[in-house]
Structure formats: C-alpha cells, structure tokens
C-alpha cells in the first residue's frame, strides 16, 4: 500500500522478476482473490446485480407500478415469469426494480456508518487518552442496544422514509467501523512515517487522512462488504415490519410483507423477493470472506 498505485499500470520492460517486484500490494490481493473460486463467484453475482439495478428500465418487461386488476394474483406464466401481485403488478419487474433500492440503501447506509464510524475510530485511535475512552464508551452504549431495536427506534423518531431508513441502519452499524479503524490506527500511529509526517509539520487532520486512514483500508473494505450485506438485511427487515420503505415502492422487504397475507394462495409473492434478498446477501458475504482471506493471508486457514 505504500507503493503508488501508478506502478500497477506502469509499462515494464524488465524481466519477470523485476516486474514481480514492482507489483503493488493491491495487485497481489487481486491475484489471491482470483484464485478463490467462491469469492469470484460471489463477486460476479454482485456485479451482475449492480448491472441489473442500473439497467432496470431496459430489463424489466413491465412498469413495476402498473396495476392491472384483471390480472391480479396470477401464478408464474410465460407472460409473467414470477406471477403478479394483488394489484396485478408484474413481480419480475418489481423484483428487478427492487434491486435498485436494496443496493442503494445497502451502500449508502454503509457509507454513513463507515465514514462517521471511521472518523470517530481514527480520532480515538490517533489521540488516545480520554477522548479515545469517551468515544469508545459511546460506541459501547450503541452496542448495548440490539442493532435492529436501535434502528427501529431511530426510524420511529425520524419517520419512515428512504433517507431515514439509511440513517437508521447506518447509525446502528457505526460501532463496528469505529472499532476496526481504531484498532488499525493504534498500530499505525507509532510508525516512523507518521512521526516523520509530524516532524515536517503536517497537521493532525492531514496525518489522519493521509497516513492513518489509507493504512486502515484493508479491514475497512472487508467490514464494509460484509456491512452492505447486513445493511440490506436490516433494511429489508425494517421494511418488512412496515417501518422502512412504504408501499407501493418496489422494495423486497415490503413486497414480502404485503405478500404475506396471500401466503396460502400465492406463495410466490413471498418466495421470490426473499430469494432475491438471500442471493444478494449470500453473494456479498462470500465475496467479503474471500476478500478478507486475500487481504490478510495470515488469517487464512
């Protein structure tokens, strides 16, 4: 990581040995990751989903919110591969559009958690002492409340909306990023290059941003990948409870919740959205596991 990223793409005319030396650590990580078949499969599924989410208007056969009472509660057919819901809306289209919300919520919530948690952790780890103690005790307080209960309380207070859902899930994930970053910051802050930066008069903020944080990247990336999976699950759970995304928006958790009352006669209304959530979360978890193994080969069993 101390190498410049540029070396990755730098033209190299030297012999293989020399080229091997010049490869950045990220290249090494990628090489290890590529050998892990499960991780590659997980990554492919995640990439595929991002593509589906981006191309939703092109891929979806119908408008996800187009109701058609004549066609309500139709089982899967060639016309509607995943059936239609109680308003006659095409389930496949709704699931395709639902991927947008799930991925969006997952990434933004983790972004909120990782940025604020990361900053708090870096400050705590860098300065140490009372400030560190205070920050970590605050994180203990957040950890003492079960994640989903905390998220429910926050959504309850702020009201149900997409943004509030992301804030609630993000805050409930804060402590894990704070802890991870703090742990790395503690090991990094005594290093010579940090002292060197201080000696040349760099400000604390600059040292934290330019020297501490980049060296905590590996655990942050792993935590975030697994965090997105957790965030998608939490957001879906909140929507399922009626405290997240509200109908008629096509979101997997709330689709599951509204399909629930037709469990007996139209089980596909609950089966497919749940399957979609499971596949995304499973893919992210497998990818995250693989990433951890490639970033830290020591942990590999």
């Amino acid at each position: 990581m101390n190498n410049e990223n540029g070396t990755l793409f730098a033209p190299s005319s030297g012999r293989t040995k020399e080229r091997e030396k010049r490869r950045s650590p990220w290249w090494e990580v990628w090489r290890r990751l590529r050998r892990n078949k499960a991780a590659v499969a997980g990554m492919s599924v995640v990439i595929l989903l991002v593509v589906v989410a981006v191309l939703a208007p092109v891929l979806a056969p119908y408008d996800p919110n187009q109701t058609n009472i004549k066609m309500r509660l139709q089982g899967p057919s060639s016309e509607h591969p995943l059936g239609t819901d109680n308003f006659g809306r095409d389930m496949l289209s709704r699931i395709i559009y639902g991927s947008r919300i799930s991925l969006y919520v997952g990434f933004v919530a983790v972004g909120i958690g990782a940025v604020f948690g990361g900053i708090l952790g870096a400050i705590g780890g860098y300065y140490g002492g009372r400030l560190d103690n205070f920050i970590m005790r605050c994180m203990d307080v957040l950890l003492a409340i079960p994640q989903i209960i905390l998220a429910i309380a926050i959504v309850g207070a702020l009201g149900t909306s997409l943004l509030n859902l992301m804030i609630a899930v993000g805050i409930s994930q804060l402590p894990r990023y704070a802890r991870v970053v703090r742990a790395s910051a503690l090991t990094v802050r005594g290093q010579e290059y940090v002292e060197a930066a201080r000696a040349v008069g760099a400000s604390d903020a600059r040292i934290i941003l330019e020297n501490i944080l980049p060296n905590c990247m590996a655990p942050i990336i792993v935590q975030s990948t697994l965090g997105v999976a957790q965030a998608i699950l939490s957001a879906a759970a909140l929507s399922f409870l009626g405290l997240g995304i509200q109908p008629p928006t096509a979101e997997w958790g709330s689709m599951l919740s509204s399909g629930r009352q037709f469990l007996r006669n139209a089980p596909y209304l609950t089966f497919f959205p749940g399957l979609a959530i499971s596949v995304v979360v499973l893919a992210l978890n497998i990818f995250g596991d693989g990433l951890r193994d490639s970033l830290d080969p020591k942990l590999r069993q």
């Binding site: 003492a144 994640q147 309380a153 469990l263 609950t270 749940g274 979360v281 978890n285």
Partner: protein
C-alpha cells in the same frame, strides 16, 4: 471471583446511563406531540395545553430527563399512553415469552452450530467441510423473516403439522425457535470451525496424540475446552443480537412479546413504552454480557487464576 463480578457490574452502570440518554433523546426528537396523540384529533387547544402541563412536557428537556432517570432508578418507567398501565407492568407481562424464545433460540443455535463447526473442522477440506461451511453461510445470509414465512408455508399450510400463531403448546415454539436461532447457529458454526482448526494444530494436542490417547478423548479432554472460549464470546455477543431478532419472530408468529410491544408502541407513538422497552433490552444485553464474562472464568482456569493472584 466476587471482586471480578462486582467490577464488571460497575461497568454496566455508565453504559445503561448512556443508553438512557440516547433513547431519551431519540424519543424526544420525534415529531408529533404525545398530548395530541393521546387526546386524538377532536381535542381543543386548551385540553392539549393542560395535558402537556400534566405530563411535564412543558419543562425543559434536561429536567424531563432528570425526572425520567430518578423514576427509572426507583423502578418506575412511567405509564403507557395507550393503555395507561405502568410501563414496567407491560414489560414484565411480555417478558416471559420473549425470554423463553431467546433462550430456546440460543439452545437451538448451540445444539446445531457447535457440532456442525466441529464436524467441518475435523473433516477440513473435504466435501463435508464444504457442505457444513456453505450451510452456515446460507444460514447467516438468508433473512430470518423469510425463513419464518417459508417454514410456515411448509409446516402449517402444505403439511399442516405445526400451528402458525399463538403460544400455548410446545408446538408453537418450534418454528419461532428456528427463525430466531438460525443466524446465531451459523455464526457459532463458523466460529467453532475456525477455533477448532487453530486448537488442533497446537503442540499439546500433538503431544496428547503421540501419547496414544484415543481421538475421542483428545477431542473431549484437550480440544473442546479451548475451542469453547471464543465460541462463548460470540454466543454472548449474538445473544444480544438475537434479543433484537424477537421483534421479527414475534411479528411473524403473532407472539405477544417484548419486541412486538416496542414495534406497536412506535407505531402508536407511545413514547414511555418505547423508552422503557429499549432500556430494558439494554439491561438484558448487559446482564448477558456479564454472565458470559463469568462463564469465561469458569471455562478458562487461566482467568480464574489471574483473579486469585490479584487478590
């Protein structure tokens, strides 16, 4: 030992104080006036003002918090806006169902997760390992509310052998237990596996084998004790997580527990119940963590010895 216990107990106090501040602020940030909610849309301005006065809502927030805290320390969490019953009574009425579920879920998680992890580690890099590990990863990834609905579909609708709601017979607990425990089960299986793999490679295990002790004895006498320590940690952490999971489980299977109480209270803007309920959850999590710490000392003679020496 007692000193260790008391010291850990002291740690619980600032955390609970913190939780009370957090939940009090969250609840009081909420838009909507409790007095208006209580009286309904037909209330006059005067009635609302009177009730606000009566509830102490006109006082500054920190004064309100002070009152809330002193009352809470006396075991009084206020009265529910909806039912006018004391919040403590409502919580205590609902708590047995939630506790039963949480304990059953944990037993399920350990009973399945531990053997699964041990098996995977003993057969490392075989298809058995791959299958166990994949099973654990799936258990960790699928939404538990979906598992609940699919179980219900299978066992209450297609093959109607289990009731889909209520909680009067042991049959009512089977599906909720699985739903609640499945994630913890997966985490315990993963933790057990990696902990086993680490312990198996230790010198003392090799020595034990070299002495000619049977594999079974090596496993039970030499390996398991050390494997259990990280597993207990993770089980403790996940017990708190699982307590949160009751919200979902109780909703799906219509079990009148603490989780449902909080969700209903949030929908009804019944803030004393939300406040009291969340605080009570935090208390439970704290007590569980305390018990886990004590369990360590029992499992790990090194910790016990440390505290003996310190005395």
């Amino acid at each position: 030992m007692l000193r260790y216990f008391l010291k850990r107990l002291m740690f619980l106090i600032p955390v609970l104080l913190g939780v009370s501040v957090v939940i009090f602020s969250i609840v009081h940030l909420a838009p909507g006036d409790p007095a208006e909610v209580m009286l309904g849309p037909s209330a006059t301005q005067e009635e609302i003002t009177n009730l606000r006065e009566q509830l102490g809502l006109t006082k500054p927030l920190y004064v309100q918090y002070g009152i809330f805290l002193t009352n809470a320390l006396k075991g009084d969490l206020g009265r529910s806006i909806k039912s006018n019953a004391p919040v403590v009574d409502e919580i205590m009425e609902r708590f047995p169902a939630t506790l039963t579920l949480a304990v059953l879920g944990m037993i399920f998680a350990i009973a399945i997760g531990l053997p699964l992890g041990i098996l995977a580690a003993l057969k490392q890099n075989t298809w058995v390992d791959a299958l166990c590990s994949f099973f654990a990863l799936v258990g960790f990834s699928i939404p538990n509310f979906w598992v609940g609905l699919m179980l219900m579909l299978l066992l209450s609708i297609y093959i109607p052998i289990l009731p889909s709601s209520g909680f009067d017979s042991w049959k009512n607990f089977i599906m909720p237990t699985i739903v609640l425990g499945i994630q913890t089960m997966a985490v315990i299986a993963r933790m057990t596996r990696s902990s086993m793999l680490e312990v198996i490679r230790q010198d003392y295990v090799r020595t034990a084998r070299a002495k000619g002790i049977s594999d079974r004895l090596v496993l039970t006498r030499h390996i398991l004790g050390n494997v259990l320590i990280p597993v207990v940690t993770i089980a403790g952490i996940y017990f708190g997580h699982q307590l949160g999971g009751v919200v979902i489980t109780e909703t799906i299977f219509s079990i009148p527990g603490l989780g449902r109480l909080i969700v209903d209270a949030i929908r009804a803007q019944d803030y004393p119940v939300v406040q009291g309920g969340v605080l009570f959850f935090a208390l439970c999590v704290g007590i569980v963590n305390l018990l886990v710490d004590l369990l360590y000392a029992v499992l790990d003679p090194r910790i016990k010895a440390q505290y003996r020496a310190a005395k």
